[in-house]
Subunit: 258 residues, 2 copies
């Protein structure tokens, strides 16, 4: 069973660049998209989702901003999402929980803190609330995967230039410490679990300069497993081949045994 996380940086732009073909090629059973930046009715009229996929969009209230979507060739029910003290309705369209038989998928787009101190503070409050909200899923005896663009690179292996980014949102000491606590809770970073330490493979590259060609990237897209899911990990991958520049993020793959 193949689970995929992909920040598409605007689904409409991704459609123009031919995301359809890549969706077929990747062959996900559950495909979780972030930064869709679109409402259902804004999708091109002459376009339709790849055949055989159940689709659920969870947009932000603000047009052209944030939003997640989950597609699946399996049966798919939507479960209640993330509500917390400051936002009971997930107004920014950041978390979508789906169930596919016994598998539960938590599709997440964690706030970006690069917009200034206010957004960084919001990000950190959001992180704490989300981590607490997530905890009950750890104990499930069925597989639960927590997937998405978490906007944090965890260790020095997860970023091209750790020294130069120690003061950049996404690699701040308190964000990295939070990530360590998240894994301490019991969530397994499937990519690092399979690849081990030292493998510097990235999932996002800035659009500025030649970052992608020079592989000056960050790994900020994750597929985390609860213990029940971790037992089933078969393979992981981040697809970085040329021609896949549909988004500034690469699709991240986790294969689980049935």
């Amino acid at each position: 069973m193949r689970l995929v996380s992909w920040n598409v940086n605007g689904l409409r732009a991704a459609i123009r660049k031919g995301i359809d073909g890549w969706i077929e090629t990747i062959g996900a059973d559950v495909l979780m998209l972030q930064e869709t930046r679109v409402l259902e009715e804004q999708l091109p009229k002459d376009w339709s989702w790849p055949q055989g996929h159940a689709v659920h969009l969870h947009p932000a209230e603000k047009k052209g901003y944030s939003g997640v979507a989950t597609l699946s060739t399996l049966e798919q029910d939507v479960l209640p999402g993330f509500a917390w003290g400051e936002d009971a309705t997930d107004i920014e369209g950041r978390v979508l929980v789906t169930r596919h038989g016994e598998l539960v998928c938590v599709n997440t787009y964690l706030p970006n803190g690069g917009g200034g101190p206010e957004r960084q503070a919001y990000k950190e409050r959001w992180m704490d609330a989300w981590r607490a909200w997530l905890a009950p899923w750890l104990e499930a005896d069925h597989p639960v995967v927590v997937v998405g663009d978490l906007n944090i690179a965890h260790t020095e292996d997860d970023i091209w230039n750790p020294k130069g980014n120690a003061k950049t949102s996404g690699f701040l000491p308190q964000e990295r410490a939070w990530f360590t606590k998240l894994l301490g809770d019991g969530w397994v970073d499937s990519f690092r679990h399979v690849k081990g330490e030292g493998e510097k493979i990235y999932s996002w590259w800035s659009n500025r300069g030649n970052a992608r060609a020079d592989d000056k990237g960050w790994r900020i897209d994750y597929l985390l497993c609860n213990p029940a899911a971790a037992k089933r990990i078969v393979a992981v991958d981040i697809i970085r081949q040329a021609g896949l520049e549909v988004s500034d993020h690469a699709p991240c793959i986790l294969d689980l045994s049935d």
Copy 2:
């Protein structure tokens, strides 16, 4: 002596599309541009104005909006511009007056009324003030040309579909009547003067549909002459050749004898 009026619909976009080559080809002695939508410092650093041209930019205060510019291979002095009751500083960058020896050029970008009743009312107040401000130049014994995008098609010969546009800003009865009064003041529409009635040649086409390919256009760009200039009219033209789609307006030419 060749005078040219050209609404470039964004000078930066026009530069990307190769306006430089066309400027050389056209060979104006005085080239008057409208809708430059740019400040001097926003021009590409690796770009420079065609050699041998004196240049004066008159931008709007609001970025990316309106603005006129005059280029000349002749000597060029800037004269006081258009000040009126509602706007003593020409905040929208619409009128630039230059002197080239005995020739005076009034480069004008008349407000567009398509933005709603408020803008239409502003346009009409502007028109009246501008027409009055212009009148003293009629009596000059040296040539004065009033040039630019006047955002009005005068007669049924100046628009592809007069019936369908009787309620469209730019072809409203009161705008056409105003234009008749302007010519009644003594200004000579050089294009119509040379071509005579019945010639339906346009200078602007909407970007919607296939308006340009189908020649569904309007003539809203003019070179008006005071009597001293009218005596010297040699030729007029509107260059509409393929490949010149640098802007949605065509360059309009007036040749005067020296």
